[in-house]
């Protein structure tokens, strides 16, 4: 029983990180109907930036959060401006495939310049575990989840309460209508791509406190995120948040009950079953 609660807690902790990653992805998907297959690779870049800031300048991963956010925001805008926007007028298939190309490029380029080795940050401000009546709570994992929730809430607030945020939501609802209302949709596209990538940057810094860092780390995270986003429903921020937690918990519990080797398969099966019953996802329309 205690073990089960422990797994539940672990699932919740990783699920909240998934939520943050998925919110970034769903923002891009919702606003411009582009599936960014390079999302996981952006995460990898974020993790490596934190790693190098730590290894070369001694900056704790927690303090590299703002640096990561800004750098990935710019990277996202850059990739939108020079690659994605060029493909958006083309056939749907090209839009799907182009980000695959970007992800293969980034992952292998990283492997070339940084070698495919596994790295980790040894001594951070956060270490150790709390023991709450038998349930072990790793402090870096806990802080990562709290950081993810705070960032997710920040995105909610931004979208609901600022002019730019409202403009993003408007474009997401109806691109033509937003254009008629005088919203610069191209600028909103570029901003959303930037913000979506910046969120991954934040997640990357948080994960760098305890996760292994290697060039192909993005692959599994990326695939999981697609399922979460589709599970949550087309462009739905709330959907992505809920689905992220759900996937984290189901994956961890499923891996514990059946076999850890099937963790990812369980997530995919859950996605297939959900879209079978509700083809538009949990919160889609």
């Amino acid at each position: 029983m205690e073990q089960l609660v422990q797994q539940l807690v672990n699932g919740l902790l990783i699920g909240l990180v998934y939520s943050l990653l998925a919110i970034g992805l769903t923002l891009i998907w919702g606003v411009m109907n582009v599936l960014n297959f390079a999302h996981g690779e952006f995460l990898m870049i974020g993790m490596f930036m934190s790693y190098w800031l730590y290894a070369l300048a001694g900056v704790d991963p927690l303090f590299s959060i703002p640096v990561n956010a800004v750098a990935l925001f710019l990277l996202g805008m850059f990739i939108y401006r020079y690659i994605i926007s060029k493909v958006m007028q083309g056939p749907a298939l090209a839009q799907l495939v182009v980000t695959f190309g970007i992800s293969i490029f980034i992952a292998n380029f990283a492997a070339l310049i940084w070698t495919p080795n596994f790295r980790s940050i040894e001594h951070t401000l956060l270490s150790g575990t709390w023991d709450i009546s038998g349930i072990k709570l790793s402090i870096p994992k806990f802080v990562t989840s709290i950081g993810s929730v705070v960032t997710s809430c920040g995105v909610f607030w931004f979208l609901r309460n600022t002019r730019t945020g409202k403009a993003i939501l408007a474009v997401e609802m109806d691109r033509e209508a937003a254009l008629i209302m005088g919203i610069n949709t191209d600028r909103i596209n570029s901003l959303s791509f930037g913000i979506g990538s910046a969120l991954v940057g934040v997640a990357g810094a948080l994960l760098a406190t305890h996760y292994y860092i290697y060039p192909f780390v993005g692959g599994t995270f990326g695939l999981t995120c697609f399922c979460i986003v589709a599970l949550g429903g087309f462009g739905s921020i709330e959907g992505a948040f809920i689905a992220g937690i759900l996937v984290g918990v189901v994956q961890t519990l499923g891996g514990y009950i059946f076999n850890p080797a099937y963790k990812l398969a369980i997530v995919f099966a859950m996605y297939l079953i959900t879209v079978w019953i509700r083809p538009q996802g949990l919160r889609g329309w």
Partner: protein, 321 residues
């Protein structure tokens, strides 16, 4: 009209004759290997086209069918000593049945949702095979050495028989695709792609024709899988069930021109040749430079040639008329 078909037939015959003579001219084993792989991916691309190009179902999970084809024939041969030729058919049937089983619940999925569902399906199959002891789990299966003969589907002294068998398979796939595209089904599929709901309202049985397309596609892809197993003589989940193969199949179709019968063949000729030679030249150090080049190539193709080489040629000639 009849003269145009006559011309086309003559042109097709000439290309075919060229393809039959080609391996006799290109005698290097590596050159022949590249041509065999080209035909194999061309076949998978043609099969993908039935789903993706015509019906608009962008599948990124074709590798599941490929892998099942490879595993079925190899497993039957290893365990029950059943001829790979029978395994070829059995693999195709199993892949089609599985395609129907997964395609039916997915029959309402469109666009990105379908693409993600297909990735999920392919990954589930890979993970299951990676942990399934009966089929060798992560160690895979080694096809036993047998006497070289057509009946055994195994040749050691020369790659030529493999070349001609694969060419025959490819011709079969092209014939099936041509037949589908000119039959009623082809029009139904295109109608589904243009407007799912409208096609349904006009009386097209969308679920049924989508299923037909998926099943035919799965059968052909599984055939290519069996061929791969008999050609390489060793399979494991990492070589016949990874997402990268699915992506390669999509790229072959897109580069050549989705929605045209011969597009994937042209696409495979360009992409497989490029990637095999770049791997031979750049990849030997294991630094992944060939993969960087490959990623760049994909990005550039989607940006500047989204309708594919063959697709662009066809639309140019049609404009000229």
């Amino acid at each position: 009209m009849s003269t145009i078909t006559g011309k086309r037939l003559a042109l097709g015959g000439a290309v075919l004759a060229l393809l039959i003579i080609l391996p006799l001219v290109v005698a290097s084993p590596f050159g022949q290997h590249v041509m065999i792989l080209t035909f194999m991916f061309a076949m998978c691309g043609v099969a993908w086209n039935l789903m993706g190009g015509y019906a608009g179902m962008f599948s990124f999970g074709q590798v599941a069918f490929f892998g099942i084809g490879a595993y079925t024939s190899s497993f039957l041969l290893l365990t029950f000593n059943i001829s790979p030729w029978f395994g070829l058919v059995a693999g195709g049937v199993i892949a089609s049945l599985l395609a129907a089983a997964i395609g039916y619940p997915c029959s309402n999925l469109r666009g990105h949702y379908f693409a993600i569902a297909s990735i999920a399906f392919g990954e589930i199959i890979r993970i299951v095979f990676n942990n399934w002891q009966t089929v060798g789990a992560a160690e895979g299966l080694t096809i036993p050495m047998m006497k070289e003969s057509l009946a055994n589907f195994m040749f050691h002294s020369s790659k030529l028989p493999y070349y001609y068998i694969m060419l025959a398979f490819l011709l079969l796939a092209v014939a099936v695709c041509y037949w589908v595209s000119t039959s009623k089904m082809g029009y139904y599929l295109r109608a589904i792609k243009e407007g799912h709901d409208i096609a349904q309202v006009l009386g097209v049985n969308v679920v049924r024709y989508r299923l037909y397309a998926i099943m035919i596609s799965a059968f052909l892809t599984a055939m290519a899988g069996t061929f791969y197993a008999q050609y390489i003589l060793y399979i494991d989940p990492e070589s016949v069930m990874i997402l990268a193969i699915s992506v390669q199949i999509v790229l072959v179709a897109m580069l050549g021109g989705a929605n045209t019968v011969l597009g994937p063949v042209v696409g495979a000729a360009i992409l497989i040749t490029l990637s095999e030679y770049s791997r031979a030249w750049l990849g030997y150090k294991g630094t992944g430079v060939d993969m960087i080049a490959y990623g760049t190539l994909i990005t550039i193709i989607s940006m500047y040639l989204p309708n594919g080489v063959w697709g662009s040629i066809i639309s140019l000639t049609e404009r000229g008329k």
